[in-house]
């Protein structure tokens, strides 16, 4: 995932890029399951169901001042977070969902890596982060399949969050908390939209 982050890191990162035109060639390794949309909904529901617990686990593991200052340290003020319009077409919503999940997947990977260094004893947090990342990978695959098969969208340009490798420890903790706060907020909206 860091490699993915590096590969996609370029000037202008943070702003979503347009997806592939409709008439582009689209191919998937495996045919989509007929109930892929149902699977997408289930995966969204699963993520939505665990997002709050993950958020709590995260800020608890960081220690003070995080648990008592969530509004200041963990407010969902994440710049460049991909937008989502619940009233758009299914195709548009799927494209936006793809961007969001790709963004979150990369961010979760960085957070997991940081937390393993910063809080090596917070095993439940590590486990929860890993499970969430796994579900997101599956969701991303299903969304891609749906876009490809139904809407013939072979490629969607995605954006990732800012590079945090040069951030200090406190900033990393804070950015992770903000991102998980944002994730908790967005995943609820997205789940309702589908």
């Amino acid at each position: 995932m860091p490699l993915l982050l590096v590969l996609h890191w370029k000037h202008g990162a943070g702003s979503p890029l347009p997806f592939t035109p409709v008439n582009a060639t689209c191919a998937t390794r495996h045919p989509c399951h007929s109930n892929v949309m149902s699977q997408i909904r289930n995966q969204l529901a699963q993520l939505n169901g665990s997002a709050n617990a993950l958020f709590i686990l995260y800020y608890t593991a960081q220690g003070e001042p995080f648990p008592n200052n969530l509004d200041k340290l963990c407010a969902p003020n994440v710049t460049d977070f991909p937008p989502f319009h619940a009233n758009g077409t299914e195709k548009a919503r799927l494209v936006e969902l793809y961007r969001i999940i790709a963004y979150l997947g990369a961010a979760l990977s960085n957070i997991t890596q940081d937390q393993k260094l910063l809080n090596p004893n917070a095993l439940s947090l590590h486990s929860k982060l890993s499970v969430t990342a796994d579900v997101m990978r599956g969701l991303l695959s299903n969304v891609h399949c749906r876009l490809c098969n139904k809407y013939h969208v072979a490629h969607v340009d995605v954006a990732y969050g800012p590079d945090t490798s040069d951030k200090d420890v406190f900033q990393k903790k804070k950015l992770g908390c903000q991102l998980l706060g944002k994730y908790k907020q967005v995943i609820g909206i997205v789940t309702q939209a589908f």
């Binding site: 340290l73 260094l117 809080n119 406190f170 900033q171 903790k173």
Partner: protein, 959 residues
């Protein structure tokens, strides 16, 4: 020429001027001044790094001092001044760092430097430069405008002081916390605040967060606190093969921090003589290669280093002093016998055959048996002597370099087993003899040989019993190990028993004991002894002088089925022994028997002892029975008490009596009971007394009692009280009388019933029934069918004389009629009974009246008259006349005639030829002879004569 001169002068002046100028410049800008000063920031370490050069050193090196000044915010605010002394070499770039307490991000710093040449080797070169110009070091621009506090993350040692700063032109209302603790704030400048943390502790390797609030903004910094790097301890180097030196040390605490803030300290080994340096990959050891032409002396410096500190230790040594041989190899044994064995071993080659001193230890299972030192070069060998047969030994060998004795090698160990030998000691044998019907049942016991004496595994025991009276009578037994006893049944006479133990090699010396033909003297009195926790002290008196030793035996577990007989030998000159055993328990009675063992190996019982190591209170109480209960007393008795099973010598009994009375008998005391009641306690101090009479009781009263025994240790358990109610006195007496009387009556009744026939025959024989007489049928059939039964009128009565003794009146016969008509004379009863109208006429028969006979008549056996009981008479007569009349008449007739005054003389007209036996009469009736047959005593009217009702017949049946 002049022009040339002028030109030359001008040139000279110019040159002079130039030299003067040059001299001034040299004076002003000597090359020894620091130049090219460059100041940079190491944000991680919060260091200002200075870098400069000194041009054109006149010498290869020069000792110089560089004064340095550092200002903060503005040049006038000098915060630090110091000197940096060093030896400057030609073309050397000089470095110096200054650690700022205040984070460099918070304020601009200024640095200037100058130089002083102050080398004693060049006194003429006494030079001080001017200060360089101020070099400005601007504060790093934060990459994020949200950042409030600096440094963002800092690495410090435990116990350090840390300063955080905050530089804000807009907001001055900021406060910072470490956990819940507010950090003291200090204002350095109009926009610059500092927060000072002193003596920071080590909390964890992942850092501690300092959180700062500015209105609605929160920022934080993470402080990484490292443990203080410790100096390596126990640093030493040694070689085992003259090829490699292995240096080891104790690294102390690991100073690594999380998030890659600081790795573990690393170690570097530097040898100053060779100038070689090695980075040690391990934290507590490092190998150093010894070159072929190895130096004799080494000077090692071990440096431990982390981001914050360095620690060094040194070790100087000669290589030959640090030889630590490897453990011996190939430890083997040869020529292993019963008492000898040879061990060989080999040492790893150590250089040029260095002399070694080896230390050998011989262990058995318990301890070190032998220790030896042997000098060797490479191969070692040693012979062990005085070993024990059939014993496993362990040999341990270690060696040391013999010259410098630096350090012993590790132990090398190996075990071996010596060969077996024949057992070396006779068995310790003892016996229990029980005589039964002339036979001796001998329980033969022996103690297993110790491993020391067994010299191998004992396989079996041989037993030979020889009759000393009949030498040819031998009994042989082979008992397989691990048995330690057997049973023998021997006949009469004395027997000598020999017991030997055998292993695979041979036989032990024989152990002998003689069983005497005479039975053991069991009449020796038993004496009580007092034991202690340590055992029993037993002493006895010698019985005879012809003995070899004494034997004391006892049961280790006397209360179990197998008593586990123990015995102890005591020398002949000793008449006491202390018997101690781990098996002894308090409250258990142990019985000891002391035997003399004669020279012929015969045992004679000398004394008996019994005692406890510690007496305890009785564990149970006797079973009590109440006897002889009366209204005023009762007796208690209990069975012979099993004192053997008691936990102490029974010294007596307590009888505790509860009653409603408040007074106790004078020989008892009132004691309280656990249930808060009281009882009168009688003390029976004689343990042989097993009865107790409780007296002076009240009738019809309720009593409770208990009986408990006691020993020197106390009283037995208070058993449940038994209840007794004394009976009423009168009813008791009545019972005393009524019971025997009732028994007598019953006995008499039984006797009477048993002899009823006899009594009946004697006292009231059956009266023959005239209606059943066979004569009737005879009369009917032959003479007169109307004639039924004899009527009184038909008979000519015999004369009855009534004799009045007092009056002397004599009735005259044959004036019979006159006699019956006289009113003042006693009248026979039948005169009233027989009705005159039914009289059928006279008959030529002889009859007799049926008077109630007097005593003399009843006793007349010759006529066999059966007396009629007075009670039967009314029934018999009831059919004939009024019972009242009959009874009255009959009674009157008896009463009116005094027995002493009147006697009736019955004069029979005919003597009956038959006996009075009715049965005989019925069976063998007489021949009908006119007027000579026995006539019925009563006349019955014809209409009543036949037939007799069955009821009546039944009622008359007994007669």
């Amino acid at each position: 020429m002049a022009l040339f001169a002028v030109f030359q002068t001008a040139f000279a002046l110019a040159l002079l001027s130039l030299r003067t100028c040059q001299s001034e410049v040299l004076d002003e800008y000597l090359p020894l001044a620091p130049q090219s000063l460059n100041v940079s920031i190491n944000a991680t370490l919060q260091h200002l790094r200075l870098q400069w050069i000194v041009h054109q050193l006149p010498y290869q090196e020069l000792q110089m001092v560089f004064p340095i000044e550092i200002s903060r915010i503005e040049t006038s605010k000098v915060i630090w001044t110091g000197n940096y002394s060093t030896t400057v070499k030609k073309n050397q770039v000089l470095h110096w760092s200054w650690e700022s307490e205040l984070p460099l991000e918070c304020a601009t710093h200024f640095v200037r430097i100058k130089s002083i040449a102050n080398d004693a080797r060049f006194p003429q070169l006494n030079f001080v430069s001017n200060w360089s110009s101020w070099e400005e070091v601007p504060a790093p621009t934060p990459g994020d405008s949200q950042w409030l506090i600096f440094p963002r993350s800092k690495l410090v040692e435990e116990g350090a002081n840390v300063t955080f700063c905050y530089n804000s032109e807009t907001n001055h209302n900021i406060s910072c916390y470490l956990g819940d603790e507010l950090i003291h704030r200090e204002q350095l400048d109009s926009n610059l605040y500092t927060f000072q943390l002193t003596n920071v502790p080590f909390i964890n390797i992942y850092g501690i967060t300092i959180a700062c609030w500015e209105n609605n903004r929160i920022d934080g910094a993470v402080l990484f606190v490292s443990k203080v790097l410790e100096e390596p301890k126990n640093f030493s180097c040694q070689t085992q093969d003259y090829k490699t030196l292995k240096c080891t040390w104790d690294p102390g605490v690991d100073t690594a921090l999380g998030y890659n803030k600081q790795p573990s300290q690393h170690y570097t080994l530097f040898e100053s003589i060779s100038g070689k340096k090695k980075f040690c990959g391990q934290k507590n050891w490092c190998d150093w290669e010894i070159s072929e032409d190895f130096p004799k002396t080494y000077n090692f410096t071990l440096t431990a280093e982390n981001y914050l500190r360095k620690r060094t230790v040194r070790s100087v040594f000669d290589l030959t002093d640090r030889v630590h041989p490897k453990a011996p190899e190939s430890v083997q044994f040869k020529n292993v016998g019963t008492t000898n064995a040879t061990v060989t071993w080999k040492m790893p080659v150590l250089g040029n055959y260095v002399p070694l001193l080896c230390h050998i230890q011989l262990h058995d299972k318990e301890t070190v048996r032998q220790e030896h030192n042997v000098s060797i070069r490479v191969n070692g060998e040693f012979l062990f002597r005085e070993l024990q047969p059939d014993t496993e030994y362990m040999v341990r060998i270690r060696c040391i370099e013999a010259t410098h004795l630096w350090k012993w090698s590790e132990w090398a160990s190996q075990t071996f087993l010596t060969a077996e030998a024949a057992p070396s000691k006779a068995l310790d044998v003892w016996r229990i003899v029980r005589s039964d019907k002339g036979l001796h049942n001998v329980a033969l016991l022996w103690k297993p040989l110790s491993k020391f004496h067994a010299n191998g595994k004992i396989l079996f025991y041989n037993i030979i019993a020889q009759n000393l009276d009949k030498k040819s009578e031998l009994k042989r037994l082979c008992i397989h190990a691990p048995a330690n006893g057997t049973e023998l049944t021997l006949g009469q006479g004395s027997y000598q028993i020999q017991v030997t133990a055998n292993n695979s090699v041979g036989t032990s010396p024989a152990s002998e004991i003689v069983i005497s033909g005479s039975s053991e003297n069991e009449e020796v009195e038993e004496e009580r002894i007092n034991g202690t926790e340590d055992g029993f002290f037993i002493s006895w008196k010698p019985r005879s002088g012809n003995m070899t030793r004494y034997v004391v035996d006892w049961c280790a577990h006397p209360q179990s089925l197998h008593c586990d007989l123990q015995w102890k030998h005591v020398g002949p000159n000793t008449t006491s022994a202390i018997i101690s055993s781990d098996a002894f328990r308090p409250g258990i009675r142990y019985n000891f028997r002391i035997y003399e063992l004669s020279a012929e190996k015969t045992a004679y019982l000398v004394e008996r002892k019994t005692g406890y190591t510690q007496e305890l209170a009785p564990s149970d109480s006797p079973q009590v029975v109440v006897r002889n209960l009366t209204s005023h007393s009762f007796a208690l008795s209990w069975k012979a008490y099993d004192t053997e099973s008691q936990s102490g010598f029974i010294q007596g009994y307590y009888v505790c009596l509860k009653s409603n009375t408040t007074q106790c008998h004078p020989d008892s005391v009132r004691v309280g009971l656990p249930d808060k009641s009281t009882c009168c306690k009688h003390d029976i101090s004689d343990p042989k007394q097993k009865t107790f009479l409780v007296k002076n009781l009240q009738p019809e009263s309720f009593y409770e009692f208990s009986v408990s025994s006691y020993t020197s240790a106390g009283e037995g358990p208070n058993t449940t009280f038994m209840k007794v109610t004394t009976p009423d006195g009168r009813s008791y007496m009545l019972m005393q009388i009524i019971l025997p009387v009732t028994l007598c009556v019953l006995l008499t009744a039984v006797m009477c019933y048993w002899k009823s026939q006899w009594v009946k025959e004697k006292c009231y024989p059956d009266i023959p029934d005239p209606y059943k007489s066979s004569i009737l049928s005879l009369i009917k059939s032959k003479e007169n069918t109307h004639l039924t039964i004899m009527n009184v009128k038909d008979c000519i009565p015999d004369a009855i004389e009534v004799i009045h003794k007092s009056e002397g009146t004599k009735a005259q016969f044959p004036g019979t009629e006159k006699l019956f008509t006289e009113s003042d004379s006693p009248k026979p009863a039948n005169l009233y009974l027989l009705p005159a109208e039914d009289f059928s006429g006279p008959a030529p028969c002889i009859s007799f009246e049926n008077f109630t006979y007097n005593a003399s008549a009843c006793d007349s056996d010759s006529f066999a008259h059966i007396p009629v009981p007075s009670t039967a008479l009314p029934n018999q007569l009831g059919m004939l006349a009024s019972p009242d009349n009959v009874e009255n008449t009959h009674t009157n007739s008896q009463e009116e005639i005094p027995a002493g005054e009147i006697s009736l003389n019955y004069v029979s007209q005919l003597a009956s030829p038959m006996s009075g036996d009715k049965d005989t009469l019925l069976i063998d009736p007489p021949e009908p002879v006119l007027c000579s047959e026995y006539k019925m005593q009563m006349a019955v009217p014809s209409h009543l004569a036949s037939p007799v009702p069955s009821e009546m017949a039944a009622s008359l049946e007994p007669f």
